[in-house]
C-alpha cells in the first residue's frame, strides 16, 4: 500500500512538470497569439489588443499567467482552437473516442496475436517455427507505418475492394446514440447490429495496420520473457516430477512470463499514439492523432498543446494502472517494498 501511495505522490510533480512544459512551449513560441486569434485588422487597433491582453491576463507576469492557465485547465478550459474556433476541450471530447476505439482494438489484436506467437517461438526455440516468427516480428517492427498504411489502403480498398472507404462508418449510416463514444460498443448497447458490423468493418484495416508494429514488439518481449522463465530451475523440477509439458508451459511458466508483457502494454500505448497520428491521417480517421496533425500544420497551438497534455496524462494514467497490475500480480514487488 505504501508503495502505491508513494507512486501516486511521485506522479504529482510529473503532472505539474507536464503542465509547465506545455505552458512554457506555448509562451516560448515566436508566434504572437494575440494576432493569431483576433486577426491582423483588429491587431491594428491598440485598444482591442489591450482589451484582449487584459481578458486573457497576457499583461501579467509569467507565474501569474501560469496560475491562470492551471485554473482555467482545472475548469475544463484549455483555450480555443485557432482553426475550429471551438473550445479545445470540446474538440478533444469529440475526437478522443475515435482514437480510443482504434487503440483498444489494436491492443486487443496485438495481445491475441503476439502472446501465442511469443510462447510458440520460445517453446520451439531454434526450430524453423521460431526463426519464421522472429523474422516476421523483425519485419513488422521495421516496416515504416506510413508506407504500410498507404499500401494496405491501396491493396485492400482500391484494388481488392475489401476494406471500406475512409471514416468510421459508411457515409449513409448514422452514428449510434453516444454512450461511450465508441461506435462498436454504442451500437451494441442500442441494439443496432448493422451499425455494429459497419463500425467493425471500418475499424479493421486501420487497427490491423496500427497493430503491425506493436505485434512485433510484443511477440519479441513475450518470447524473451518466456525464454528467461523456461530456463529456470523450478521448471526442471516440475518436469522431473513428471508434469506433462503442456502443464509446465501454461501453468508454471506462462504466468511468470506474462509479467513483463503487462509493462510493455503500458509502454506500447505511447507507440500506438505515434502510429495513430500517421494511421489516422492516412485513413481519414477522425481521432486526436489526425486532429494533432492538422493543428500542427496550421500552427494551431492551443489545439496541439491540448492534445499533448491529454495524451501525456493518459499515458501517465495507463502506466500507473500498469504499475498497479504489476503490484497485484507479482508477489515479489509486494515483498520487496514491504
Amino acid at each position: 500500500m505504501n508503495y502505491l501511495v508513494r507512486r501516486l505522490l511521485l506522479l504529482v510533480p510529473v503532472v505539474f512538470g507536464v503542465t509547465v512544459i506545455v505552458f512554457g512551449v506555448s509562451h516560448a513560441l515566436p508566434v504572437d497569439p494575440v494576432v493569431a486569434v483576433i486577426g491582423e485588422q483588429a491587431a491594428e487597433h491598440p485598444q482591442i489588443v489591450a482589451a484582449y491582453r487584459a481578458r486573457w491576463s497576457l499583461n501579467k507576469p509569467l507565474p501569474e499567467q501560469y496560475v491562470a492557465f492551471i485554473g482555467n485547465a482545472l475548469h475544463g478550459d484549455l483555450g480555443v482552437s485557432l482553426s475550429s474556433h471551438r473550445p479545445v476541450v470540446q474538440d478533444l471530447r469529440d475526437y478522443f473516442p475515435a482514437t480510443a476505439e482504434l487503440s483498444v482494438c489494436s491492443i486487443l489484436i496485438t495481445i491475441v496475436v503476439a502472446i501465442p506467437l511469443g510462447i510458440v517461438a520460445a517453446v520451439f526455440r531454434g526450430r524453423p517455427v521460431d526463426i519464421v516468427i522472429r523474422a516476421g516480428t523483425l519485419t513488422g517492427a521495421s516496416v515504416p507505418v506510413f508506407w504500410a498504411a498507404l499500401a494496405a489502403l491501396s491493396i485492400f480498398y482500391v484494388h481488392l475492394g475489401l476494406a471500406p472507404g475512409p471514416g468510421r462508418l459508411d457515409t449513409m449510416d448514422v452514428p449510434p446514440p453516444a454512450v461511450t463514444g465508441l461506435y462498436t460498443v454504442d451500437s451494441l448497447l442500442s441494439g443496432r447490429l448493422s451499425t455494429f458490423f459497419d463500425a467493425l468493418h471500418h475499424l479493421m484495416l486501420p487497427a490491423i495496420v496500427l497493430s503491425g508494429v506493436t505485434v512485433g514488439l510484443l511477440t519479441r518481449i513475450m518470447r524473451t520473457s518466456m525464454l528467461a522463465v523456461l530456463n529456470q530451475d523450478y521448471l526442471r523440477t516440475a518436469r522431473s516430477k513428471g508434469a506433462p509439458r503442456r502443464r509446465v508451459v501454461f501453468r508454471h511458466a506462462l504466468p511468470n512470463a506474462a509479467i513483463p508483457v503487462i509493462t510493455v502494454v503500458g509502454l506500447v500505448f505511447g507507440e500506438l499514439l505515434s502510429g495513430a497520428v500517421l494511421t489516422e491521417t492516412i485513413f481519414g480517421w477522425p481521432g486526436i492523432g489526425r486532429y494533432a496533425y492538422e493543428a500542427a500544420t496550421v500552427a494551431d497551438f492551443p489545439a496541439i498543446l491540448g492534445v499533448a497534455m491529454l495524451v501525456a496524462f493518459a499515458y501517465l494514467a495507463v502506466n500507473f494502472v500498469v504499475d498497479l497490475a504489476y503490484f497485484a500480480i507479482d508477489p515479489r514487488t509486494r515483498e520487496a517494498v514491504g
Binding site: V18, P30, S142, F146, W147, S154, T224, T297, V311
Partner: protein, 286 residues
C-alpha cells in the same frame, strides 16, 4: 554443415552460429547503404532535382532504375540523395540524445539523492509526452525545416539514454576499481568522467549505433507529415509522402520506404543478436 563434414573425410568446417551470420550480414548491409549514399553523385548519374517531364511517372526501367516521379525526377537518384538528408539528420539526433542523456544520467546515477530524484522526474515528464506529438509541436513552433525537425526530434530523444546511463552508473559505481579511485582520493568529478563513464561507454555506444535505425524511421515520419525536410529536397519520409498521391505509381513511395525498412531491419537485427548473446538468461545454458 556438420553433416557435410561427416560425408567428406578430412573436411573441417566451423559451425557458423546463425546469429553471427545475421550480425555480419546486417552490418554489411548497413555499410553498403552508407557507401551508396556517400557515393550518391557518381552512382546516381542523374541530378535528383532534374525534371524529365517527357517521362513522368515512368515505371522502373533500364534508364531509370527506380522509375520517375510525377515531375519526371529519377527516383533512384532521389532515394540515394535522400540518404544525404535522412542519415546525417538521424545521426545528429542520436548524437545529441546520447550526449545529453549520458550527461544527465551520469550525474543522476553518480550523485544520487535529491539530484537523482529531480532528474528522474524531469525524464519522466519528457517520457510522458509521446515523441511524435512533442516533436510536432516543436517543429510547428519553429517552422518546418530539416534543421528544425532535427532539433524537434533531438529534444525528445535524450530521456531513454538518461535512464540507461543512470542504471549503468548505479551498477558501475559499486565496483572495486571505482571504490579504489575513491580511496586514493580522486575528485568526484574526475571519478565520474574518467573512471565510471568510460566503463559505461561500450553499452551506450552500441545502443546509440542501433538507435540510428529508429531515428531514421522517426525522422522519416516527421518529414512524411511535412514537419521535417521540405520539398524539393529529397528525404526518405518526404519521398514516400510525395508518392502517396500517385500510389498507382507504386515505385515512387515504395523504394524509399524499402530503403528505410532495410536500414531499420539491419539495425534491429544487430541489436537482437547482441542482446541474445549478452543477456545470460536468454542465452540459456550454453
Amino acid at each position: 554443415m556438420a553433416r557435410l563434414a561427416d560425408k567428406i573425410p578430412g573436411l573441417r568446417i566451423r559451425k557458423v552460429a546463425a546469429s553471427e551470420l545475421v550480425f555480419v550480414i546486417s552490418g554489411g548491409v548497413l555499410v553498403l547503404l552508407a557507401l551508396a549514399v556517400i557515393a550518391a553523385g557518381p552512382l546516381a548519374r542523374t541530378d535528383p532535382l532534374a525534371q524529365h517531364l517527357a517521362s513522368r511517372l515512368a515505371p522502373p526501367s533500364a534508364a531509370h532504375w527506380f522509375g520517375t516521379d510525377e515531375l519526371g525526377r529519377d527516383v533512384f537518384a532521389r532515394t540515394l540523395f535522400g540518404g544525404r538528408n535522412s542519415l546525417p539528420a538521424a545521426a545528429v539526433v542520436v548524437a545529441f540524445g546520447f550526449l545529453i542523456g549520458t550527461a544527465l544520467g551520469g550525474i543522476a546515477g553518480f550523485a544520487g539523492g535529491l539530484v537523482d530524484e529531480v532528474l528522474m522526474r524531469l525524464t519522466d515528464i519528457f517520457l510522458a509526452f509521446p515523441m511524435i506529438i512533442l516533436a510536432m509541436t516543436v517543429s510547428a513552433a519553429l517552422g518546418a525545416s530539416l534543421i528544425h525537425g532535427v532539433i524537434a526530434l533531438a529534444v525528445v530523444w535524450w530521456p531513454q539514454y538518461t535512464r540507461v546511463c543512470r542504471g549503468l552508473v548505479l551498477d558501475i559505481k559499486t565496483r572495486e576499481f571505482v571504490l579504489a579511485s575513491h580511496a586514493i582520493g580522486r575528485r568526484p568529478a574526475g571519478i565520474l568522467l574518467k573512471t565510471i563513464l568510460p566503463a559505461a561507454l561500450p553499452t551506450l555506444s552500441v545502443m546509440a549505433a542501433i538507435d540510428i535505425g529508429r531515428a531514421v524511421l522517426n525522422f522519416a515520419m516527421l518529414s512524411f507529415l511535412g514537419l521535417g525536410a521540405r520539398p524539393p529536397a529529397p528525404e526518405w519520409g518526404l519521398l514516400v509522402a510525395e508518392g502517396s498521391q500517385y500510389f498507382q505509381a507504386w515505385w515512387i513511395s515504395t523504394f524509399p520506404a524499402l530503403v528505410v525498412f532495410v536500414m531499420v531491419l539491419a539495425c534491429n537485427m544487430i541489436g537482437d543478436t547482441l542482446r541474445d548473446v549478452t543477456d545470460p538468461w536468454v542465452a540459456g545454458r550454453r
